[in-house]
Symmetry: C2
Subunit: 312 residues, 2 copies
């Protein structure tokens, strides 16, 4: 239930984002990108959906990123005190973090340094002190990882929507499914994680490319499936966006047609039992991505305790 | 300095991922996707790069996602105790989280529930108890946000590499730059955040599309720039991957040519002072994305305390 707001934090006329009627304000301050805060707050707010969903409670978040000196923190804190905001922050510099915590105490702003417990635990586990240097003051080296991710993204974009079937064998993961099951956003999400993904549409009356069945590692093909009613809703929205005329609309988003297409896909999946089936209904893209990555690593390693392992 | 490892967590022969010589192990357990843990641990490990960079310390992370019952947690904990791992976890169910913490105490496994302080702070700020229900037990509704993000991704893919200049005016953000400045990965990263992005390559001897200069809101065009030496390195790696022959290689990744191209881009930027310049050297994609999003919201709202605001 998130709506990205187009309003400003400081508009003298309408003060509604700063202190909306009945809404609670969360300020997020990072010396870096702020994406860690955004990610954590998003997950955490999932725990309050019972209250957010009917607007019994409303939350407005404001992300201040690249905050690299204490004067700017102070400016934000004063505003936070004024509007009664909760402050969630990530500041690598220990003296800046300490001053922030003290200022918050002084001004009665509840505040949490959200990465602190993690960093403290890792420091004691490694027996090494954290550097205290924010990412903005560092240069990222051109690592193998960097090149691998960029290559994965380039590959994945080129393979969208069934393009270049002759390169399917080079993919780590191949997604198949009827239109609007989420193939493209899922491909892109996985590409960002470093996987080379190809997606191939299932269209009634059109044969899937021979290369899909001919390639080794059929277990890297994932068949997406979705509830027909939900797909129907998605397609109706899509047809509206694309401005389909009535005739095209009916074949594309007609309920009977949707059912037939999904049955057709189901038959293909039944003939290819090596393909894991991924249920997309009611799942966010990152959730289905997690399932796919888990199966991918699991199959690759065939171990009893599947995990995704990284070395730093 | 992250290397995605292809090794398993349980291989009887080589036990090196579980307990690599001199390496420390971090286990991450989530009842959901595990991406929150991955993101937070990545950021936190940035604080130990002085030690990781020369392998003075080595860290092996193992992510266990979709862990939705305590028996599976126990299995992982036993293994964690055996290999001397640190446990970082996110479990929404309070009794499962509590049992985990107790079992860790019993077995001497250091453990941190990394979202707990954030969720506790939000609960007290809202005056509402967290649901305790993990995301895996919930269905995500087809929200406006969901459709907006998917549309942004579809749009962005279609606009890659200068395609469809007639649609540039529909983009929220337009990225321009010479080859290998990071236009594509940056576009995709921003698309995931819900922005419609187009990217247009700057190539010497090829005119930029008229539509780029004709459209309103020239301030939504961002000119990417990068240090010539760094670009040279990236292009050499690229030429190798693509298997360019010697002649193509030399015009593409020749140092003089790289310099000329960047000068050419610089002249275009100078003629278009409304375009913000984004420095890509030494920055991760998510860092430059954060800068662009900040400028984008700042310009749109022209306020003294720029932030990115969302309503939940
Ligand atoms: N690679 C890195 N090196 C050092 N600090 C980092 C790194 N990545 C993230 N951080 C820190 O982790 C916190 C969250 O980062 P961010 O997600 O960019 O807001 C900030 O305090 C950053 O300075
Ligand atoms: N939309 C949501 N609703 C409820 N809980 C969530 C939601 N998103 C994330 N969480 C919880 O937040 C923690 C981190 O999620 P994840 O990043 O998927 O591992 C887990 O305990 C999830 O169950
Ligand atoms: Mg698609
Ligand atoms: Mg490109």
């Amino acid at each position: 239930v998130m709506i990205v707001s187009d309003e400003t934090t400081e508009s003298s006329e309408e003060d509604d984002v700063i202190s909306p009627p009945g809404g609670k304000v969360i300020y997020m301050v990072s010396d870096g990108t702020g994406w860690t805060l955004e990610h954590a707050v998003n997950a955490s707010l999932g725990q309050f959906e019972h209250c957010l969903v009917d607007r019994a409670c409303a939350v407005n978040t404001h992300l201040f990123s690249g905050i690299d000196n204490f004067e700017r923190v102070v400016g934000i804190l004063k505003q936070a005190a004024k509007v009664g905001a909760l402050l969630l922050y990530t500041l690598a510099d220990p003296s800046m973090a300490e001053s922030t915590q003290q200022a918050c105490k002084l001004w009665g702003v509840p505040a949490v340094n959200i990465l602190r417990p993690t960093t403290v635990a890792i420091a004691s586990h490694l027996g090494v002190e954290p550097s205290g240097i924010p990412r903005s003051e560092r240069n990222i080296p051109l690592s193998e990882e960097y090149f691998r991710r960029i290559e994965a993204i380039d590959f994945t974009i080129k393979q969208d929507d069934g393009a270049l079937p002759q390169h399917l064998h080079r993919a780590d993961i191949v997604l198949v499914g009827v239109s609007r099951t989420g193939k493209t956003p899922l491909s892109i999400y996985l590409a960002q994680k470093g996987y080379k993904v190809a997606n191939v549409p299932i269209v009634m009356g059109v044969n899937l490319p021979r290369a899909l069945f001919d390639m080794d590692h059929q277990e890297k093909v994932f068949g997406l499936t979705i509830n027909p009613m939900v797909l129907h809703t998605i397609r109706k929205a899509r047809a509206k966006t694309l401005g389909f005329d009535n005739e095209m609309k009916s074949t594309y988003s007609d309920m009977d047609h949707v059912r037939q297409e999904l049955e057709h896909a189901g038959k293909i999946y039944a003939r290819n039992p090596a393909w894991p089936i991924i249920e997309m209904t009611g799942k966010a893209i990152e959730e289905t991505a997690a399932v796919i990555v888990r199966i991918y690593h699991d199959k690759k390693h065939k171990c009893s305790m599947p995990s995704i392992s990284k070395r730093y």
